[in-house]
Structures are given as structure tokens and as C-alpha cells.
């Protein structure tokens, strides 16, 4: 059965079709990319009914049975995350149509390759395969960071490359330890064998892998690469980085800690402490930034901290809140970075003190930005409120200290988002400043994302149901039962 591999295969084919299409003319690149993304999105959506009725769909590559072959596992967690991530990339590509003016071939094939890596990590059932897809994702991200070949983008790219390669090497070392002790690479098989051993090497291996994944998701002690990479890369790519690639690290931590290995209290404490530091530290650092994109980057770190704290509680509510916050954060940050992208595109600078004079208040951008900002803070009627409320409730059930920290971070979020809004849109805005017309391909993604934010916020039951389904799919016994039959 090869059917399950199709969303990834379509993206991989698109990646290598783009250079062929652009041999004569660059006119049809955008059509090819959009067609591939739409096909992949439809294939992922078409899998949802099957996954919901059976609980989990497993494909064995080339018909090799589970512990020997590579299995691709679709459960509610991976399918809903795939749909969300493909959708974010689709909107970012629509936005890029007028934004990227040269080197289109390289740009669009690298963006497709990032998506291949993401979908691979999320859907694979083999731990080495996960490493390979993580490397695909990372290498294409390094190249996209260096895309403009300006001074700061080259510097950010080499920094990202060194730190990111260190992270993936640590992951590989952890995988080597696991293979040495357990003699298997299939995640379900590891889950079976790990419960029978008390070998301390397993703990070391898990620590190495999780450290690598923390570096990939940019939590605070390991965040040095993140603001530079976000600032220097093209804005639609930043929206993909923040909305898609950083979440991959958190997904891998979730899957490994709760499904493959056992959620022992040391690991949960580690998640909570690192999460709390990132939550507060990211928000405090965001408060003092002068560059709009750096501010949003630090805000991303802070929101990843929320996810880590909530996941680290280990309770049902905490996990739902964390998983839902991953999706909500990627929608909101997708919107905010696209707004920032348009502002930077028009003002030719991302220093907030210089932007305001060059930029006239524009209704589409302005309202999208303020809705995204309020949703990020967690104001009711927007989607950010649902997941933040779940996080507050879950932390209060375990320790009210964490609730206070989360509330303080939310207050800081309000402070820095309002500062950004004031500096960019309100402070010394000249009515006569020249204003370009916004192309439709740049407006459309913003309007769609604002619509989703409001819909998910007004009908919270829908997203809470989905997040509960996603958390159930972390169940260890069901995962083993489905894969090893």
C-alpha cells in the first residue's frame, strides 16, 4: 500500500518539477507550486474520515511488516497538524507571488522541500526516518534563510546552520544509542522493548534527542539562532518558519515522550522549567526590541514556552491546551508575519521607529494586525483565547504558580503587541505618506487567516473536540497495537 505516502510524494514531485517547468519561462512556477500544494492538501483532508472512523491508519512501505520496514502512521494528531501546516504554507506561497521577484525557481522548490520534511517528520513511524526528514527540513531552511544573500542573512544562515546541525547530530547520536541498546528503529517496537529494560543509556539517548528538538523549536537556553534567522529570511518564509518548522520540534517531543517512551516526572519537570523560562524570557526580550520581525520572533519563543509548559503538565487538559496552542499559534503567527512582511515590503525597513512615518494606516493590514495581536494575547472571541484558557485551567489544577507565570507572560504579550501596534500604525503617521496599492494576492491570505481566527474563536467547541481527539492519539497501547499487527 503506497496510498498513505501520497501527500509527501506529491510535494516531493512538485519540488523537482519546478526546475523543469522553469526551463523555458518562469511564468508557470506559481501555478505548479499551487497545484502541488492543493493536491497535497486535498489528499490529507481525504484521509480524515478514514482516520476518525478507525482511530489510526498505518501503511507499511513496500509491504514490509512493521519492525522491519518503515511504517507511515496517520492518526488524528498527525493528520490535523499536516492539514494545518499545508494550509499555512499554501497561504504563504500565495503571498509570495508578488513578494519574490527573482530566483523564483530556487525559492519555490525550497519552500516545497520544507513542507516535505515537515510532513515526513509528522507522519513517520520510524525514528531514523524522522531524522532524515528533519535534515531535509533543516537544510532547506538554512538555504531559505540565506536567500537574499545580504550581510545579515548570510550571517544568520551560517549561525542557524552551525547550531541546527549540532542539534541534528545530537539527535543522530541519541538514535545510535537507542539502536545499540534495543536493536530496533521502529517507534512502536521501541515502545514495546523500552518497557522491559531499565538501561540508563536509554535516558541519555532520550535526553540527547530532546535537547536536539528543543534547539529546533528555539526554547530559551537554545534560542540564539532564532531571532536572527527570522529577521533575515524573506517574510513569507518567516511565516512558514514560525508557523510550521518550529512546531515540528514540539511535535517530536510530544510523540517521543508520551507515545514511544514513558512520561517520567524528570522529563515533565524539564519541559515545564524550560517552558516557563522561555515563556517569560521570550516575552521580556520581545518588549525591548526595535525591529518588528525580531519582536515577533521573540514572541514565537514565548508562545512555544506556553506549549512546553502545558505539555509538561502531562494531564489531559494540559495536553489538549498544548496541542491546540500549537495549531492556534501557527495560524496567528502566520497572519502576523505576513502583515509584518507587507509592512517591511512597503517601508523598506523593519525598524519600528522608522516604519511609522513611511506608512499610512491601511485598513486591511491594520485590522489584521490588531486582530492577530489580540488573539495572541488571548482575548475572548478569538482563537488564542481557547487554547490559553485551557492552559490556565490545566496549570491551575497542578500548580497555581505556573498559572501566575502564564498570566504575567500574557500581560507582557499585550504590552509588546500594543507597543508594536502603536509604533507602526499610530505614532506620527502622516496622512499624506505615499501608499502603494496592496495586490490581491497579498490581501487574500490575510483575510482568510483572520476569518479562521474569528471562526475558531466564536465556536470553541469544534477546536476543543479536535484537540481531545489529537491527545487521545498519543495513547501508547493503541499505537503499538495498530502498528505491530
Amino acid at each position: 500500500m503506497i496510498f498513505g505516502f501520497l501527500p509527501i510524494a506529491v510535494m516531493l514531485a512538485t519540488t523537482f518539477l519546478i526546475p523543469l517547468v522553469s526551463l523555458k519561462t518562469e511564468k508557470y512556477i506559481i501555478h505548479t507550486t499551487l497545484a502541488g500544494l492543493f493536491l497535497s492538501l486535498l489528499l490529507s483532508i481525504s484521509m480524515i474520515p478514514d482516520v476518525l472512523s478507525k482511530g489510526r491508519v498505518v501503511y507499511q512501505m513496500e509491504g514490509w511488516k512493521a519492525p522491519f520496514g518503515i511504517s507511515i502512521v496517520f492518526d488524528p494528531l498527525s493528520v490535523f497538524l499536516s492539514v494545518a501546516f499545508i494550509f499555512i504554507v499554501l497561504l504563504a506561497v500565495v503571498f509570495s507571488h508578488k513578494y519574490i521577484k527573482y530566483k523564483k525557481t530556487e525559492y519555490y522548490s525550497l519552500v516545497c522541500l520544507v513542507l516535505v520534511g515537515t510532513l515526513g517528520v509528522i507522519n513517520t513511524g520510524d525514528i531514523f526516518n524522522m531524522f532524515v526528514y528533519l535534515e531535509i527540513l533543516s537544510v532547506s531552511s538554512y538555504a531559505l534563510t540565506a536567500f537574499f544573500k545580504k550581510k545579515e542573512s548570510l550571517e544568520a544562515a551560517i549561525k542557524y546552520l552551525i547550531i541546527g546541525s549540532l542539534a541534528t547530530s545530537l539527535v543522530l547520536l541519541g538514535i545510535a544509542f537507542i539502536y545499540g541498546v534495543l536493536g530496533t528503529l521502529n517507534m512502536a517496537d521501541i515502545a514495546v522493548k523500552v518497557s522491559g529494560t531499565a538501561n540508563p543509556v536509554i535516558g541519555t539517548a532520550l535526553a540527547l534527542i530532546i535537547t536536539g528538538m528543543f534547539i529546533k523549536s528555539g526554547l530559551v537556553p537554545f534560542h540564539a539562532w532564532l531571532p536572527d534567522a527570522y529577521q533575515a529570511s524573506p517574510s513569507p518564509v518567516t511565516s512558514i518558519f514560525s508557523g510550521v518548522t518550529t512546531n515540528v520540534g514540539m511535535y517530536a517531543v510530544l510523540r517521543l515522550v508520551f507515545t514511544v517512551f514513558n512520561p517520567v516526572s524528570v522529563l515533565l519537570w524539564m519541559l515545564m522549567i524550560v517552558g516557563a523560562i522561555s515563556m517569560l524570557g521570550g516575552a521580556l526580550l520581545a518588549l525591548v526590541q526595535n525591529s518588528l520581525k525580531r519582536l515577533l520572533a521573540y514572541s514565537s519563543i514565548s508562545q512555544m514556552g506556553f506549549v512546553a509548559v502545558s505539555v509538561g503538565l502531562g494531564t489531559q487538559t494540559g495536553l489538549s491546551g498544548g496541542v491546540l496552542h500549537i495549531i492556534n499559534h501557527s495560524i496567528i503567527k502566520g497572519l502576523l508575519f505576513l502583515c509584518a512582511g507587507f509592512i517591511v515590503y512597503q517601508a523598506k525597513t523593519d525598524n519600528m521607529h522608522e516604519i511609522s512615518g513611511k506608512f499610512k494606516f491601511n485598513p486591511v493590514i491594520g485590522y489584521s494586525f490588531i486582530i492577530g495581536a489580540l488573539s495572541l494575547v488571548g482575548v475572548p472571541l478569538f482563537n488564542g483565547f481557547v487554547s490559553k484558557w485551557l492552559i490556565y485551567v490545566a496549570t491551575f489544577q497542578v500548580s497555581p504558580v505556573l498559572t501566575v507565570l502564564a498570566l504575567v507572560s500574557s500581560a507582557l504579550t499585550l504590552a509588546y503587541m500594543l507597543r508594536a501596534f502603536y509604533l507602526v500604525f499610530l505614532c506620527n503617521a502622516k496622512p499624506g505618506a505615499k501608499q502603494k496599492k496592496i495586490p490581491l494576492s497579498m490581501q487574500l491570505p490575510l483575510i482568510v487567516l483572520v476569518g479562521i481566527i474569528i471562526l475558531l474563536g466564536v465556536f470553541p467547541g469544534f477546536s476543543i473536540d479536535i484537540s481531545n481527539l489529537m491527545v487521545q492519539s498519543l495513547n501508547k497501547q493503541q499505537y503499538i497495537g495498530a502498528v505491530l499487527t
Binding site: L154, E155, L161, I162, S165, L166, L172, L173, A176
Partner: protein, 115 residues
């Protein structure tokens, strides 16, 4: 035992160069050493003294299983070598324009590297 010690030495030297060397090119070399140490470690996991290649000469499974080396780490290392090649190539292709822009590869002398 010797391959494991060598692998550990490679990992430690690579990590040292990656963290403490000033020149970016040396950092990249350290990265290559680091991952080659991991490759050596993986290969020694599947090594067996006097082993034969895991190719079936006759249909005797038990003889093959008792003699052959573990082929899986070799496959993993091949994959990982290819990945490392692409990472190093990308790193060098970023370093060349970086040198043209800054006229140095020292991390301390590039002001943007600090933030």
C-alpha cells in the same frame, strides 16, 4: 573497544572545535568531525570480528545469522554521510559570499555575530 574510544575522541574534538574555535571554517570542520565520530560509533555497533558481508550465498539462515555483520548501521551511515555532504557543501557555499562581504571569517570580528 578501540573503535568506541576513537569515536568518542572524534566527537569530543569535534565538539571542542565547534564551540571554541574562532574561525567559521574550523567550526564547520569540527561539525564534520563530530558527525564522523557518530558514524564510527554506529558502524562499530554493527561490527563483528571476522564477520562476512550479509549476502546470502546458500539458503542457510542460521549460518548467515551467526556470521554476518549487522547491515542496518551501514545503511544508516550511508544515508547520514550523504546528508552531511549536503550540509557541508551548503555551509561552504554560504561561507564564500560571507568572506567576500566581511573580508574575515573570525566570529569575533564580525559584529553581527554577537547578538
Amino acid at each position: 573497544m578501540i573503535p568506541y574510544i576513537a569515536a568518542m575522541a572524534l566527537v569530543i574534538i569535534g565538539f571542542y572545535a565547534l564551540l571554541l574555535k574562532d574561525n567559521i571554517l574550523k567550526k564547520i570542520t569540527g561539525l564534520a568531525l563530530f558527525s564522523n565520530g557518530i558514524h564510527l560509533f554506529l558502524l562499530s555497533l554493527g561490527y563483528r570480528a571476522g564477520g562476512v558481508p550479509p549476502i546470502m550465498q546458500d539458503l542457510n539462515f542460521t549460518r548467515l545469522a551467526s556470521l554476518a555483520v549487522d547491515p542496518l548501521p551501514q545503511a544508516l551511515v550511508l544515508t547520514s554521510i550523504v546528508i552531511n555532504l549536503s550540509v557541508t557543501a551548503l555551509a561552504v557555499s554560504i561561507i564564500i559570499p560571507l568572506y567576500r562581504k566581511f573580508k574575515t571569517l573570525s566570529v569575533r570580528k564580525i559584529p553581527e555575530m554577537r547578538g
